[in-house]
Symmetry: C2
Amino acid sequence: MSTHPPALLADEPLVVVNLGVDEFVDSVRDAGGEATTLDWRPVGDGDARLAWSLAQLASDAQDPDSVGSRIDRANALAVERIIAAQPMLVDVALHARDVWPDLDRTLLHAGAPVAWDAMCGPMRGAMIGALLYERWADSAEAAEKMLRAGAIRLEQCHDRQAVGPMSGIISSSMPVFVVKNVAHGNVAYSNMSEGIGRVLRFGANGEDVIARLRWIETVLAPTLRAAVRGAGGIDLKAIQAQALLMGDEVHSRNAAATLQLLSAVTVALADAGVDAKAARESLRFIAGNSQFFLNLSMVASKATMDAAHGIDASSVVTAMARNGVTTAIRVSGLGSRWFEAPSDMPIGLYFTGFRKEDANADLGDSAICETAGFGGFSLAASPALVQLVGGSVAEAVAYSREMYDVTVARNPGMSLPALDFAGTPCGIDVRKVVDNGIRPVITTGIAHREAGVGQIGAGIVRAPMACFTQAVLALAERLGVQ
Amino acid sequence: MSTHPPALLADEPLVVVNLGVDEFVDSVRDAGGEATTLDWRPVGDGDARLAWSLAQLASDAQDPDSVGSRIDRANALAVERIIAAQPMLVDVALHARDVWPDLDRTLLHAGAPVAWDAMCGPMRGAMIGALLYERWADSAEAAEKMLRAGAIRLEQCHDRQAVGPMSGIISSSMPVFVVKNVAHGNVAYSNMSEGIGRVLRFGANGEDVIARLRWIETVLAPTLRAAVRGAGGIDLKAIQAQALLMGDEVHSRNAAATLQLLSAVTVALADAGVDAKAARESLRFIAGNSQFFLNLSMVASKATMDAAHGIDASSVVTAMARNGVTTAIRVSGLGSRWFEAPSDMPIGLYFTGFRKEDANADLGDSAICETAGFGGFSLAASPALVQLVGGSVAEAVAYSREMYDVTVARNPGMSLPALDFAGTPCGIDVRKVVDNGIRPVITTGIAHREAGVGQIGAGIVRAPMACFTQAVLALAERLGVQ
């Protein structure tokens, strides 16, 4: 800070430190002065209602009867449930309709509700593919016509306690993983990884894509069911925790987690007496797809976060999801309402032949991983991934450190080796996101914006601030401080 | 440094910086002065012959005809071969005698030659076990009598291009891995991991130990042979490189490497048509032993380092090995001569019920991993291991950084994520070890000093300096500078 007296009195050069609004700087410089601009913004970004709400909701250890203290207690319970969660892969349902008998002519999709007209290309491509797979349409044109006409009911995965990566389509005949959080008793579901390349979740829908979906339904799913049942369940939390020690953040890198799953499946299959050809094909498929565990990391995260949902007054985020147009969050104490804002574009590396103009906006339910403390929040665990997005190891560590500033606790069951085994950032508090002006960071795949192309890169993205400001205002309203 | 004039002239208090010899300090302090001791030692630790030899062997970029430049060129070739190595697991020999038909009544062991009378407890225990396993003796007492009487020929593993962890016993009926360095054409061998707990390599020799050895011979080895042959070989270098990105230093931690091996074996076995029960038992055995890959990391390192051996004038270390009494090294340009010195005691963590007084001195051929740049040299890759030895992540990184000061190059094929993907320290130069006074660091298991007990802990140890000073003197003699 300047120690000079006011310039008009001392007739010395102006030396000014400017907070926030840039417009003041020009006049200082025009007058021959020096100006340093600090990147400061008022709480709530100048929105008086938001700033007032934040102040009312703030933690106040001195006053246990304050609204802030009530929120803190609710949040403590929420993170207690996150930390105590024990997601186990307990079964594989051979068809989604076995779990949800009402799933005829219905598609589940990633993110918040979105109409066909507003929908992004890859999700449209995936929906068309799902209709072909289900044989509800016999051509892409017929499928598109049905979808445009509203002949297919669209629902969010999250409302069925399910999650799906990228477009996240789950249809009646697709097999789903069944994961039980045995600590809390709740159950969650996800579809299965199709591998890399041309895949439905990125919007591809050619004959190869449909044929692979049928193989997953008829070969992989029964084989994995036999393995899971034979093993008496597979402990997904243990795999996630081990994988953090082995270079995965269990969102965009699942190499170690997939190998651990393969080990568990291999040992279980050896006893299960399944068809040898099916076992061989299934093991080779998993061994050849280092992201196979992603869907399991997602559903484990979903089973974990659902246990923390519905706690009155809690400001902890229990879901972040993207439909390719908007990013949406749910908050423990605010029911099933989505707080939505337009999705950002991911920043990252593109496969040869593609560039950022080809990219779709951030997409998929996979940000449930970050919601549970993995992915971008655990980037310190995964230096190999930082190489992918062009950064240094120090940057990876910095992302995890930054996320401590938006979370309630550190998860003692999930350690980050590069931070001397500190627990992962756990329980995003919408108040902290807004108050500190720090948006949650997400590691993500990048889909082509047009239907039918598929994945074109991988990178990182941040959730839009507007999701969190809306949630803060809604919480203030609900708790009667507005 | 002090800016004071000499005390006798100025009559001011003495302020002294003392280099090296401590005895001067007392008289300064007695006279009321302050003394700071710098931990400085003359090159060669005061040994004039050694210091002179080092000076003659030193690198001198200005003079390409100097002995130092000749050594540098030889060392460049040595590290070129280390970096170019491509160790592949190409076969499993069902019995060591299939590789070495002259192996009757012979035991191979770790480290340099050692007579029965001088031998450490765990190696004695393992040798007794091997005689029981081979049915060359029908009781431990009879076996000991035969060994004491010299009825069994003892040889070093290294002289058969082989390596074995801890006591490193290889006998006629044991199966061995066959690893070919396809870049150079040489072949190396090792025995197979017995798992953890009571095992021969740590000196245990009870009925359970012998029974497991028979199972390895009759079930595991044929199964792995079928898998390796079915796969057309398994690329060990690729597994080592990937494992460094996944938290292993592939000596004392091989969790990720073992999972990768399991993945390769699983996929190959699915096609190999082996007996289902044997496949099941073998896969479960590997999946249940996160150190299973150690023996393969060792033999891959041996196949790598043997390619760098025998280069005239090279001062690169091509083997470090411990027989439980001495640590011994071989140097590329110095033939098959071992340079030996008494082994240090490892520093580390002990299993419940044991303490450092129970420990045997450093033991085993596994320091071949460090010789090739893994283990202690790659400790930066393995923060989980540093937790085991009680250190911080910064300490792990510091060990790897320190090892750059004793090596010729960085291996671009083996990256350390925590050092922003710098290559591993590659090619120990005996000149640098002595000149910098830095002893190579080794991660290691700790054996009980008595025969028959087994592993009691894990930790780190450094190779004795005397191995390297002897090698420097021998190199000087060989190159005619003495």
